[in-house]
Symmetry: C2
Subunit: 430 residues, 2 copies
């Protein structure tokens, strides 16, 4: 864990290193991925079967090897213990409500020149959702990706998920049922992303692909960007807690560790104006780690990437937060609003002492798929807009064309595009 | 030019080929581009100077070699002939008005569980705009990229544009002045995109890069996607005109050619239910081509990529239009609304006989940067949203955490993330 003080010599340099530290795998998988994508594009299901046998140890032969029937998803949901089912339902209902309010309004107006102008939003026809196998197979993540797609109006929502050695995750199936997923295919890796983008004999192509995955999956999405729409390139998770000395250090320690347990590359940062509080939190992190079942991952994350920054005053915090542009920012102070107003770049902000980030991971309602690695400078969390597109429209009558057409002719001529000018001139008899 | 009839055997296969025809350069520039980007990232201005001398024949030595002063942009604007200046001003004013209405609303509400939920939109700090030299150096394109950025609230808007052998395009400078551009750098190619993304000694980095360019520029943007935000990958322009036999064939011929003159790879498609009209339009295209100053480009485009599709009824047209998902769709019929309602995938739609696509290129108001190559299935034209990002926020008090926290604990336990659960439990004294 790194300790910094803004008042110390060398802080700026150390902080710049922190901001520039990408923590992302530089593993060069791009050549492997492009070969896999080319293979799936050319050979379709045959390539999928070979690659799935090789990477997942799962044989794709019968229909049940390929697909998980929706009945099995429903059964998985019905078999959940009641508390867990109720929790999943509360999460789904709150996520749905938040995302329904994101639905954009269409426009259709006629201006003073008599020009009708508008914009119309429509859902994409089909979306694909990657759900990892193994450690990151989270039902909450399935809900966070699938519900915005369904709220957007996507008619065909396709899940791909690897089932290593044939093992399926019943929690993921239950979430798929609850979210209204239409197809579940037992494939993973770059090959599954390729199948969604290009289509195969069995799998029809989709228009947008979202969802978390390993370096191969992320690279496949990056290479297919433009063939399909994708959500933002995702890196390791991160939290920035800005806290004064009036917090319970146990709470703050728990908040930092809730991020650290995700991934050895995850990053937890505390900014505080109270040196004694900083020391106590650091101690409490150590104590908590000793008891934590996920201590192996959390310890590696905290030791390697954890940071505590002491500031002279919390007024210094927003500038640091804006430079870090963190995925999650927690404002653990009595009156968080002034800090919130001063923070320009953050994926999601958690206001006040009673708003641990974890509540946003599951049940608050806003999406937990958020920009990482300083991408909050220019990108946003997942929303219904990622599953929709906008068509603009224009309608003129002769009077309107007479009003604004001559200016277009002038510009077309200046740009050396005479056929553009001509298409207006013939209509105006010029 | 290709003639198809939906009633003929083999139509489906021929149409599928048409839909799948990408018309995009398969030129493999990715290795060259990644070397250039690495060089600019490492050596900064020194790399820029070398590459600009090599590719543009322009020496970067004095400040004036590097930058065009804003005074020079203003002078270029003042020296425009009055009609052209007025046309540019009308275009800017109408583009600004249309995009101002796109500004998204923030959210801030408290729900029945006492949970405060919201979303706040902010502009990115800085945006870079690529403006090509040579044939595609269009002032209209500068306005269409720069004005949405400024309307979004971007404080620093940086133009990069190559000045081959030192030659600048005064129309582009005039448009830069009118749009309120803050910096103009005389660099181009992949190296300019790299400079915008990484920053150099002279050029501060930006957060989003938009604007058209050649294969190198497009590949550089693709490779930097995630380091910065970018607009959609762009391919050659295209128009689909859906017209009944009641149109003046000269008008339709002019519309098809206004697209064809852009680029030898551009595509113009006519769908009509009137075979005689189809023949006449084909003839008129030939006659017009003979008189057109841009005939070389337009002829190559029309001969190679032009298509006329005869349908038994225009009711067949929407399904074809949705499969093509064209950048521009013109509905040249008396009552275009029913066709509009049936078309799901299009970048922009031009309604009625008096709305030639060219009016949208310049002065109508909606953006002319639109998805090409069937990307209207999943993406939208450029808008203020491309220069903004959304931060969600959540605030709970103890009662709210008590209401929804236990469900989050349940889900965190099910996902094997005990520190997540703990961050809620410590606050509730569980």
């Amino acid at each position: 864990m790194l300790r910094l003080k803004t008042s110390e010599a060398g802080f700026e340099q150390a902080f710049r290193r922190l901001v520039q530290d990408r923590r992302e795998s530089d593993e060069n998988v791009s050549r492997d991925v492009s070969l896999i994508l080319a293979d799936v594009r050319q050979r379709g299901d045959a390539a999928l079967a070979e690659l799935t046998a090789k990477f997942d140890g799962h044989t794709l032969a019968s229909d049940d090897d390929w697909r998980i029937p929706l009945d099995a998803c429903r059964a998985a949901f019905d078999e959940l213990k009641p508390d867990l089912r109720a929790a999943l339902e509360l999460a789904a209902q709150r996520i749905r409500a938040y995302h329904e309010a994101q639905l954009p309004a269409d426009r259709d107006e006629t201006d003073a020149a008599g020009v009708r102008l508008g914009a119309r939003w429509r859902a994409v026809d089909a979306a694909g959702l990657y759900v990892p196998g193994g450690r990151a197979a989270y039902p909450s993540s399935l809900l966070m990706n699938a519900i915005p797609a369904k709220v957007a109006g996507v008619e065909r929502l396709v899940v791909v998920t690897p089932t290593p050695k044939g093992v399926v995750n019943p929690l993921v199936l239950a979430a798929a049922y609850l979210a209204g997923v239409d197809e579940v295919w037992r494939i993973g890796g770059a090959q599954a992303v390729g199948a969604l983008a290009y289509g195969t004999q069995r799998i029809k192509p989709v228009d947008v692909i979202t969802g978390p995955g390993n370096a191969w999956v992320a690279e496949a999405k990056r290479q297919l960007y433009g063939v399909v729409g994708i959500d933002m390139v995702a890196g390791p998770s991160e939290i920035l807690v800005i806290a004064d000395g009036q917090n319970d250090p146990d709470w703050t320690a728990a908040d930092l560790l809730s991020q650290a347990e995700h991934d050895p590359s995850a990053q937890s940062i505390l900014i505080t104006d109270d040196p004694l509080f900083a020391d106590t939190v650091a101690d409490r992190v150590g104590v908590e780690l000793a008891m934590l079942p996920t201590a192996r991952v959390a310890t590696e994350s905290w030791n390697t990437h954890g940071v505590i920054i002491e500031v002279a005053s919390l007024a210094e915090a927003p500038a640091l937060a804006n430079a870090l542009a963190a995925e999650h920012v927690q404002l653990a102070v009595a009156d968080p609003q002034p800090l919130m107003d001063a923070i320009r770049h953050a994926g999601s902000v958690f206001l006040g002492r009673m708003t641990p980030e974890a509540v946003g991971d599951y049940v608050a309602g806003p999406n937990h798929v958020l920009p990482t690695g300083r991408r909050a400078r220019f990108s946003s969390g997942l929303s219904v807009l990622d599953f929709m597109k906008r068509t603009s429209f224009i309608q003129l009558d002769e009077a309107a064309l007479r009003a604004i057409g001559p200016a277009a002719i002038e510009l077309a001529d200046a740009e050396g595009l005479p056929a553009h000018a001509r298409s207006i001139e013939v209509r105006l008899g010029i």
